[in-house]
Amino acid sequence: MSGAATHLRPDLAVIAANVAPGTRVLDIGCGDGALMAALGAKDCDARGMEIDPALVERCVSRGLSVVQGDADRDLADYPDKAFDYAILSQTLQTAARPDRMLDELLRVGRQAFVSFPNFAHWRMRASLALGGRMPVTRHLPVSWFETQNIHHVTVLDFRELVRAMDVRIEREWFFSGERPVGSAGANWRAEYALFELSR
């Protein structure tokens, strides 16, 4: 495999460090395959799904098993518990129905890692409260009319959803830029969040 990436986004680095070696993993929205390559280096059987054909092509050309597909539709292809982990990084907010997507993740995977941008980060609040504008930040740089993020979510919203779905939060991590943030005040301070889930 063409070497583990030298630099993984912090949420992906945490996932890579916390997936048990030798397990079966589905990375949904796997992008250029950086996480899959890192997992491959841990002897994981990593499979990917990615909607952008150019990124799929890059993954396949580096020897990764990636299927071009739309997670909203194509997760249904996979049998129950086909994977030890299902991973959805920075993609939940683009799903047609994030609740159903979480159901699917925990159907195909025994556990799931889910990361998403936190819309209650103070920069977002400031932009909306003080500027009266939909936020455009370093972490969410795309304007409202062209963003793929159709279901903005906050840390509190997410906790409430998983509680209602009887999904258990095993562990959680929060980040501001490249730095980890403690869970105290995470809904203010975290630009994005990562949860390890099970059912």
């Binding site: 054909p53 098993s65 049998p79």
Partner: protein, 365 residues
Amino acid sequence: MAPAAPTKRVTLSEPLPLDGGQSLAGVEVAYETYGDLAADRGNAILVCHALTGDQYVASDHPVTGKPGWWERMVGPGKPIDTNRFHVICANVIGGCMGSTGPASMAPDGKPWAMRFPVITIRDMVRAEVALLDALGIERLHAVVGGSMGGMQALSLAANFPERAARVLAIATTARHSAQNIAFHEVGRQAVMADPDWQDGDYYGSGRQPDKGLSVARMAAHITYLSEAGLTDKFGRNLQDRDSKTFGFDADFQVESYLRYQGSGFTQRFDANSYLYITRAMDYFDLAEEHGGRLAEAFAGSKARFCLVSFDSDWLYPTAESRHVVHALNAAGAAVSFVELSAPNGHDSFLLEHPALDRVVKGFIG
């Protein structure tokens, strides 16, 4: 690339069992190889050809003198690199470039013609596996094919799962659709309607159904191209004239092009082979062979799979590849799939496409 040495050929020592219930004795398989076989015999790649292809994947065609049909993909330094891999390409049985087919001699010393048994894609694969046995190649590094070649690659993976570590199936399907069968039937009827076909017994008569075969090729050729590709290439341009002739000459460039494709084809292809091979494709339904569930065809497969489709291919559209990917996922197989954007329809797999090159090179490893 230098012209090929005389065709390599093996005669199978055992009769070949056929899906139709018969078996065929003394089957000959003509093939070409490129690149050296490693001492451990682990670097062999079987490339399977499409309907009208042949074993000359990367060397000049002995009849037309044209370069190999996939020279841009197979050769030294190419995505399927013959400096590293030993590439084998065999003429399918039923074909007409040296493997046993309807033009071959039957045991009674006359050509088989329409007495040749109807064969299937799986029968072609059985002959290819028998060739690998004869060559002492137990496990392929990869089996690769586009169109009908992709059907063979999938069939080999399903029926001989231990024989290939990687399966690359491009612009293909796991079953022929009603539309696919319909186009083939038009072609077959064109051949059979030609009085020179003579119920298939045209060998040695001094006449052969070139007109019918040419029409078959013209109709099929349209299905290999996209509407946008045809429009882009020909539009309504006239052929070597300033105005319409108000007659039935090839006024339009597209007519002239199709006529040229049709008549060129009859120079190198046997009409009865065209009937038999199109029939084999029409009979292809990989799920049907495996209890009606395509996932069953791949159950327990340890091979890695890669499927590639093209967005402008309406002959074997992306949905057909997705159908295979769905089954492979259900079977837990390691599968990659990408739909590439290309303007030229089904034929895109044979044409210049850097993204395809990268996918093939990356997947083959």
